[in-house]
Each structure stands twice: as C-alpha cells, then as structure tokens.
Symmetry: C2
Subunit: 340 residues, 2 copies
C-alpha cells in the first residue's frame, strides 16, 4: 500500500456511500493525495480500479462488497459488516486508519461509528458538529442531528467537546460557548434550556457566554453554540436552504433588466466569493464528536471538492490530536455533573 | 371621534410600546388613516397631541397614563390596567375597537391579550403566526414564540388556525400544512413531532402534507408550517438574522474593487427590491391566533412603515372575518382529539 505520509496511518474514505460516488470520491481523494494526504479508498474494488485507471492514477483500495444506500435504514449497518462504511470504521478501530470519512447515509455512518468505535468514556451521547460560516470565520454548532431528544448533561458535554474542537482545529485559546434559546435572559427558554443553562454556568473547561438567539448565530457572537439535535438540525438545514434561496433571488435580480444584467456581469466575481463561503462543500464533512476515533460525516450530495475538503479536515484533526484532547478534556467532567 | 370607516370600529394602536414610539406610531397611523383605515392612538395624550400638532394632523386618542417598557416583566401587565397595551385590549373586549396592534413588549402584549380577551373555545394555547417571505409569496409559520413547550394537541390547533389564517388572509382555498422536523419520513423527529404527526394525519380541516425540513421553509413547500414555539422562535430569528447578514456580505462585495463598485451602482435598484421583500417591516405585525379578539404583535424596533403595514394587516383580518372563521373552525375539532 503506497502511503503518501509515512508518519500517519491513512484516512479511510468510504468511496461508495453518497449520490456522486465513486467518481467524486476518486477525484476528491486524488487532489488530497497530491497535497500529501494519505488516503485509502474503501469500496467495490472493480469500479474504483476502473475509475483510477481512467484517470491514469493510483490509490490504495480496501475492497468492500456491500454499501448502505441512501434510502436504507441506519440500523441495518449492524448486520452488514462488509459494507464500505462499516469497513472504514473497522480500519480506524484496528489502527489501520487514522480517521474515517463518509459522504453516505448520515444515520448509517453515525450508527457504524457508534457500533464499531464506541463512545469516549464520559460521553453519554456523541454529537455532530457543523461549521456555520460567519463574517470572520466559523461558528461551531453542536448537535446538528445525532440526538433528537437531549438531556441537560448532553448539552454540557456538547459544550465541552465543541470548545475542545474549536481550540484544536481553529486555534482559539479560550472559545466562548452560547446556549441556543429564545431570549438572552437565563429564565427564557424551554425546560431543557433552563436546566442546561444552570449546568453550563458551573462547568469547568467551558467559557459560558449565556443564552444566544437565532439572530446571533450568523453574527458569530460566540465561537461555539450548543443545542439539541432537533433544533440544531432544523437550524443547519434552514441556514443552508435560506442561503441557497436568497442567492437565487439575487441571481434573478441580476437578470431583471438590461441595467441589472450589465451590472451583474461586473459584480459576478465578488458575489461568487460570497456564495463560495456559504457552500457546504467548503468544509467538506462534519465531525462526530464523542466516539472513540476520528469520524467525519459529509453531505450525501458531496462533490469532489467536498471530498477533498473533508479529507483535509480529517487530516488536520488527526495531526492536531483532536481525539486525545477530547479524551482528556471529557475526563475532567466530574461524575456528579454527568449524572444530572 | 372622527372615524374614517364608519362600518368598522377603529383599530386600537398601542402608540407607546416600542423603541421608536410615539413618533413611528403617529407617522404610520397617519399613512394608514389616509388610506381609510380607522385608527385610535392609545397612549399618553400630551406627547401624542404634540406629535400630531407638529404634523398639522389629527387622529383620535385614548389616553393611557402607563406603558410597559421593553425591559419590564410580561407578567406585570395584570396589575397595570391603565397601561397602553392593556387599554388597547380592553377596547377590543368592550367592542370599542375591532383589533389591537402593539409594537411594544411582545410578552406583555401576549399576556395582555390572554388576560383581557381570553382564549377561543377549543384552543388550549394561542400561538403567534409569522409570515416568512418565500419566492412567490409567504409561508405561515406558527408558533414563533408564544409557547416554549408544546403538546401534540397544541400543534394540531396551530395547524388548523394557520390554515384558517391563510385561507382568510391570502385566499388560498385549501392550504397545505407541513410539520417541521428533521427528516421527511414520519418516523423522523423528536417525541413531540412523532406524536403530532400521527394526530395531524387524522385532523379534519387540515390538509396535512407531512414532515418538512429547515431547507424546505424558504422554498415555500407548504402554505403553513407548524412547530413548537421554541423551534419557531429560533427559526424566525435565524431567518431574519441570516438575511440581514448575507445582505451585508453582498453589500461589502459590491464595494470590493472598482469593477464591483461600478456594477454595484447598476444592480442596486434590483437588489433593493429583493432586500425589501425580506424586511420584517413589510408585513408589520404578527397575529396572535387563538385569543378571543383580533390582536397583532409587532417588532419592538418597528418604524412608521411597519406600523402602517400592521394596521393594513389588522384591517384585512377584521374585514375578512378572521376571528369568526377561527371560532367556527376550531369548534370543528372534536373533543376526543383535543384531549390527546
């Protein structure tokens, strides 16, 4: 197996799960590999080999004879051990890969990660963290869909894991954490938020800002925003959907009349830069924090660029020692707090 | 009292509550009055009279010697019967006004409406409905903040009230209703959504589309979207905040270099039209559905244009018989369903 970075086990890329696979996986992995990211493609060897040959390129392949399709049930992964996503997780578990990345069925990827890697000690529920683009960087929003129902202690663990992620990945020394609510005052919110607020105020390792509101997210008021997976998933999809819709309105406006058309040609490059910042492909994949291994979940519709970015993100996490930081950070949470 | 529309009691406008009052109330009311909307200003007579004199104009005034400030507690309204918002509601209750509109403290306005007007028979919890601008019109989102915790039957009542609102106000004969969730499938969501889904499938008077996701809202997939007041409030504030933020990015992009500046001048009129559609002032105020009277709640930061639009909306509701439609529509919900 030809490794491009001898100091690091390769990143296992589920090359089958996702709408545009395996082509996008191959193209995206080749770009990352050229930059020195060590990748192994996990999936059906024949089409993968064919795609590589077509491009006159070569990458290591780990054959998997099964794939979880987008419409199948997440729970199916348990009995489909030879599926590409399960094999990718197994490679991480066995130390053959430093991280697993899948752009396939999100639920199945999460289930496979939980089943094969297990939870970090002290974490009740792993959470998915999303990077929300704001003016001068990103906000880390957690959880965006792993847990539709949450308890206050889950939000406390999300807050700590989100802080560690931001410190490790973005180099923010002391990240601030906001709790998504419907008013700034501590007494505003639903039952979950009221109790989580009290808990976060006394959590070591978390610089708690207090409640934040929907309008604050895009202003980048805090580095991390914690919320339950139902609200977080609604937020993430709304934010992406609204950006897409507003840009289509802007595009239409730039075709409204001759004057707008001419102006549109002139402003197009600048507007493209804005649109690119909002493209989910920009960050590639979202980490599942709280499992005992580096695992990343991408959009099912991911293209080659998203795959490349996902692999870059995974490498940064591995090189930064994200997992070790999470392990030691979470161990600092007292048992008393965890039982709340 | 000089009424501009003899067939309808005037609309009671709380002219004190809100950041830009009473000036915005006076200016906004004068525009509406010129269009034939009958308005009575409720608030401190002296400054209101002075503002009217300054403009060489005249409008009926109902004196109120108290006002609930934005930072005060909503619950305070109960013992402050002479506050402008309480007086406005009292006028509706006593038949002296056909509707009440306040751009002041939202919680206080809601509390005053509930306390003075009471709930419609069959409604457990009134909900606030917001108009979300989408490509070809609006989506009615309910509840956007009246109830941080909801039960399935509350969502059922929101669905019915939202449908009646859309039919009455927008003339949509058979509005479709979506349930905000984190996946299209009926088995996706939190406990509340799973139970509400089952209930909505068998609710007469509601054309239930099924689950919708955050990304669907701006696409206008359904006419009505129901959700609990926590999620709805997060959605509303996120949607407004994101639109504001993205437009500031676009504005900055149009100043990035000389080419963009020139193009920016050309496209400005078309982009202004897009931005105007997203301005909350466009619809002015949101109805509180489920109280026994027409009550509208506006942004605390409302300007004169928002006040005018709020008064127009209130008039349309009164003329369309919104309250009567709600009363008879809700009565159609069986007792069995309500007790779920």
């Amino acid at each position: 197996m030809a490794l491009y970075c001898p100091d690091m086990e390769p990143i296992a890329l589920d090359a089958m799960g996702g709408d545009r696979m395996p082509e996008a996986a191959v193209d995206g992995a080749l770009v990352a590999a050229a930059e020195g990211v060590s990748v192994v493609l996990v999936g059906d060897e024949e089409p993968l080999r064919a795609a590589l040959d077509e491009r006159g390129a070569s990458l290591p392949i780990r054959h998997a004879d099964d794939v979880i399709a987008m419409h199948e049930h997440a729970a199916d992964v348990r009995r489909r051990r030879t599926s590409s996503v399960m094999l990718a997780m197994r490679m991480v578990k066995d130390g053959e890969a430093s991280a697993a990345v899948s752009m396939g069925h999100s639920g199945a990827t999460m289930a496979a990660a939980l089943f094969v890697l297990g939870r970090l000690r002290g974490v009740e529920r792993p959470g998915i963290l999303a990077n929300i683009p704001v003016k001068d960087g990103f906000v880390a929003l957690i959880d965006v869909g792993a847990n539709a129902e949450c308890r206050p202690s889950h939000l406390q663990q999300f807050a700590l894991m989100g802080s560690i992620f931001v410190r490790t990945m973005w180099g923010v020394a002391s990240p601030s954490v906001g709790l998504m609510s419907i008013g700034e005052e501590p007494e505003k919110g639903n039952e979950l938020v009221l109790r989580a607020h009290a808990l976060l105020e006394e959590t070591r390792g978390v610089r708690f800002y207090g409640n934040v509101e929907g309008r604050d997210l895009f202003r980048g008021l805090t580095d991390v925003v914690v919320t339950d997976g139902f609200t977080g998933n609604v937020i993430l999809k709304l934010a992406e959907g609204e950006a897409r819709e507003l840009f289509s309105w802007v595009r239409d406006a730039l075709r409204a009349d001759l004057r707008s058309r001419i102006g549109g040609l002139l402003v197009r490059p600048s507007l493209r830069a804005v649109a690119a910042r909002l493209d989910p492909a920009e960050y590639g994949a979202q980490p599942l924090l709280g499992v005992d291994g580096h695992a990343f979940i991408g959009h099912g519709s991911a293209d080659a660029r998203a795959v490349t970015n996902a692999l870059r993100t995974a490498r940064r996490a591995v090189e930064g020692g994200l997992l070790e930081h999470l392990r030691s950070g979470i161990a600092g949470l007292g048992e008393v707090e965890l039982s709340t």
